[in-house]
Amino acid sequence: MMRASVNRAGWRSGAYRSFLAALPLVLLLTGCWDRREVNDLAVVSAIGLDTDPNSRGIVISAQIFVPTPPSSTIGGAQGGGQMNSNVVVAAPGMDIADASQKLQEKLSRQLFWGHTKIIVFGEKLARRGINDMIDYLGRHPGPRERALVFVSEGKAAEKLGLGPLIESSSSENLREMAILRTGLHVTLLKLERESSRKEAIALPLVKSFETIGKVQTSVFPQGSAILKKGKMVGRIDDSETRGLMWATNAIRNGTLTIHLDKPGEMVSVSLYQCKSELIPSIRGDEWGIRIRASAEGNVVENISSLDMMDEKTILMLEKKFEAAIRKRIQSVLNPLQKQWKADAAGFGQAFHRKYPKPYEQAAADWDERYAQVRVSYDVHLLISRSGFTDKSLSR
């Protein structure tokens, strides 16, 4: 056994030698044709898509990171001075591919989509329809599937051009805020998936605001845009968005405040472990959805004469909060069902899962059916902690 391993005839055979000789040639075949240095890249951190007022096409605007070399002093190796700066460059085109080609022509560095984390659709474009854009974003290997999608109030390019407050760029601002889950969090992947399956989707809406004192304008997501069949049909406000999040199990935590019966009295709870599910049912011709939502909460503010150590008070408060949550969900489902007939809460999917056959039969006129779906609520809130004191400290 050992002998065999010691002298390997194969090592010296002619075929082996010629194979070895040919091996380096393989390297010549490939070369470094697709090598690109980091310094030759224009790293796009966000793209905005708007309508082109001059044609039927679009305008693509890219927020590009401008690297500033570190100051070359011994000791202060990195990070001194201004850390980051961004520019927004825009170019019109027939579609995204065409527009980005035009955009490339304006830049000295190769556009690099690999770090695009934010995609913003201008409101006008959203109203015209975004389905055609989604194809490129899903097909091209550049943009990340985890990029977050927004709809902006007004032009997307303008929103991208606004400066950041705390983060390094306005896109980073939006991303971090979406991660906080105070509003909707829609990734490109989710948009692609939902737009092929569902007929309506809610996308977070980007607005701008001004700071106090030295005035700076920046962006933040607030409320959302409802898109039906790829076209924006309307907006819902912040609290309605929260309602939608309750219905779609997108809510994680938050604070809920209710007014009590006596004027000027209110109590706030901080919610956690929020969960919800849609339970569809078909009874004869009546389609119904039961929204079962549950959460736990801690009392964080008590501006009333109530004693938080009293179990009855807690039970009463729980009822009131449950009603508040229910009202929130209702506030968004009403316009969705009646006004826009847009199934952004995913009722169709819930029916499809549980009743595949009846759903497929009803799919043709789902809009009508959806408007008729009777919604019932099963909200359960548990106040588990009442804070450090019992009664209000001031009353």
């Binding site: 391993s5 470094c32 697709d34 980091v38 790293v43 190796a77 690099f112 770090h115």
Partner: protein, 500 residues
């Protein structure tokens, strides 16, 4: 000198001496001391000055012979009556001459075609010191020296059993280096000893000045960048290896003892792993494997990702990286090669330079590959970090030559990474793994116990299992005497219930 060794010694003393004088012509240290034995017999003592302890020679040989009350009749008589432990009778001239070269004093008698050799070597030798290449915090602090007899005695002190065998042979036409094969009979596979003997016997070179000469001449795959024979300066490591059923080769003139067979996993085992608590030893060993990977791959992955796969870098990192690379004139690949070569140069300079200058080199080096290079805009800060990590990482491999192999392999991988990106890195990993799986060391698969898979071996691979679990010897080429300890070795109180 190159006559065949069968030439017998002439029985006339003068002829004999003449033969020796011509053989040791132009040797200032060749000494002939003629004297007469009591009945008037002519005798001569030949030796090389400096390597023979003359005081001992006079006290134990010359004096007893010259002042003997009874006459000596023959060489056999002398041999019989001398109270010297190391005596040897030579009949061939060649043997006697070789013996003299090795430090023996040769006694010739007129009328006898035989020589008597006394071994009174007085080689200058180093004291036993702590081995410099393998230091430990806890563990024996003795290391081998250049003298084989001292080294074997150090081993004997650790394994006091007649089954510890030491076979001696001489290799090297001119160096006549003393080589001792050592193993434990009953544990070792007999064919392994045979194989080692065959491989050693076919060595026919003019000199063996270090065990590395032998290592290179007995390897299974001479083209491999990986060492297939282990080496150590530590007697405890040798003893442990012998207990694992391996074979040790002591080589005269070097403190490094060869160990075979040697698998890749063994290069990752430091002797201290077995002297520390097993949790710590296991953690440290996993750290070693991790850093071996880093040493091998970190710069190439950096180059590949930076020049082909920028998507893989976290967004915030690429922003800061593109900033730090903004003013760098070279592509990442050139930058990496530049820095790695500089680092290797600094390392080599640090090893080779006299100690007094070494400190200066490290200071200058730290500045060259550190701050100044960044400030001058030649290299980027992340690159310096990668190179530094890689440099440190390769020193985590306990076996220094294995560490060097890993460090060298880094360069072709960087080149492949620069050419093909991560594909090139994967390609080189595959090539290395294919090579390693095919490699054998004295019949033992190099990647044992990973390939071929032996679950038992995992107790001493990425972790070091507690002593009481290491019941079996590692399976290398065969399995003789597999169990190395009694079974219930797990300690614990005899009375589980509490105080008796």
């Amino acid at each position: 000198m190159n006559q065949p060794g069968t030439d017998s010694l002439p029985d006339q003393l003068d002829v004999c001496i003449k033969q020796f004088s011509s053989a040791f012509d132009h040797c200032f240290d060749f000494v002939i001391r003629r004297f007469a034995l009591p009945p008037g017999k002519e005798a001569a003592l030949l030796y090389l000055e400096g390597i023979v302890d003359t005081t001992m020679l006079v006290r134990y040989v010359v004096e007893p012979l010259a002042t003997a009350s009874e006459p000596f009749h023959s060489m056999a008589d002398v041999h019989h009556r001398m109270a010297v432990p190391n005596m040897e009778r030579f009949h061939a001239f060649q043997d006697a001459a070789m013996g003299m070269s090795a430090g023996k004093a040769v006694l010739l008698l007129d009328g006898e075609s035989e020589a008597l050799a006394f071994e009174f070597c007085s080689w200058e030798k180093r004291n036993i010191e702590e081995p410099t290449s393998e230091t430990v915090v806890r563990g024996p602090r003795e290391g081998f020296v250049e003298n084989v007899a001292t080294n074997t005695s150090l081993l004997r002190r650790k394994l006091r059993h007649p089954d510890l065998k030491m076979e001696r042979m001489t290799i090297g036409r001119y160096s006549q280096t003393e080589v001792v094969i050592s193993y434990i009979q009953g544990i070792i596979e007999p064919h392994l000893v045979e194989e080692m003997q065959t491989r050693l016997q076919r060595i026919d070179v003019d000199g063996i000045l270090e065990s590395a000469y032998i290592e290179e001449l007995i390897e299974d795959n001479p083209y491999s960048p990986f060492p297939q024979v282990g080496s150590t300066e530590r007697p405890d490591t040798v003893a442990a290896a012998l207990l694992e059923g391996r074979i040790a080769v002591f080589v005269g003139g070097t403190p490094f003892v060869l160990l075979a067979p040697n698998t890749f996993a063994m290069f990752m085992q430091a002797s201290e792993d077995y002297y520390q608590r097993y949790y710590i030893a296991s953690a440290v060993r996993m750290l070693r494997y991790l850093f071996t990977l880093i040493a091998l791959l970190a710069p190439s992955i950096y180059v590949a990702v930076l020049s082909y796969h920028q998507e893989m870098i976290p967004s915030k990192l690429i922003l800061s990286m593109s900033q730090s690379r903004e003013s760098i004139p070279f592509p990442a690949f050139v930058e990496a090669l530049l820095m790695e070569i500089t680092f290797e140069a600094l390392r080599e300079a640090g090893v080779r330079l006299p100690k007094q200058v070494g400190a200066a080199v490290s200071i200058v080096g730290a500045l060259v590959i550190g701050q100044a290079a960044i400030a001058a805009g030649l290299v980027s800060a992340p690159m310096v970090m990668v190179v530094a990590i890689t440099g440190i990482a390769s020193f985590l491999i306990p076996h220094y030559p294995a560490g060097i192999s890993i460090r060298l392999l880094r360069f072709p991988i960087i080149c492949l990474a620069g050419l093909l990106g991560l594909l090139g890195v994967m390609l080189s990993i595959i090539l290395i793994i294919v090579h390693l799986t095919g490699l054998r060391s004295f019949g033992a698969p190099y990647l044992m116990p990973l390939a071929p898979f032996r679950l038992e071996g995992f107790k001493d691979l990425f972790v070091r299992a507690p002593r009481w679990l290491l019941t079996e010897r590692p399976r290398l080429t065969g399995q003789r005497n597999a169990r190395r300890q009694g079974t219930p070795q797990k300690p614990g109180p005899r009375n589980k219930g509490g105080l008796p």
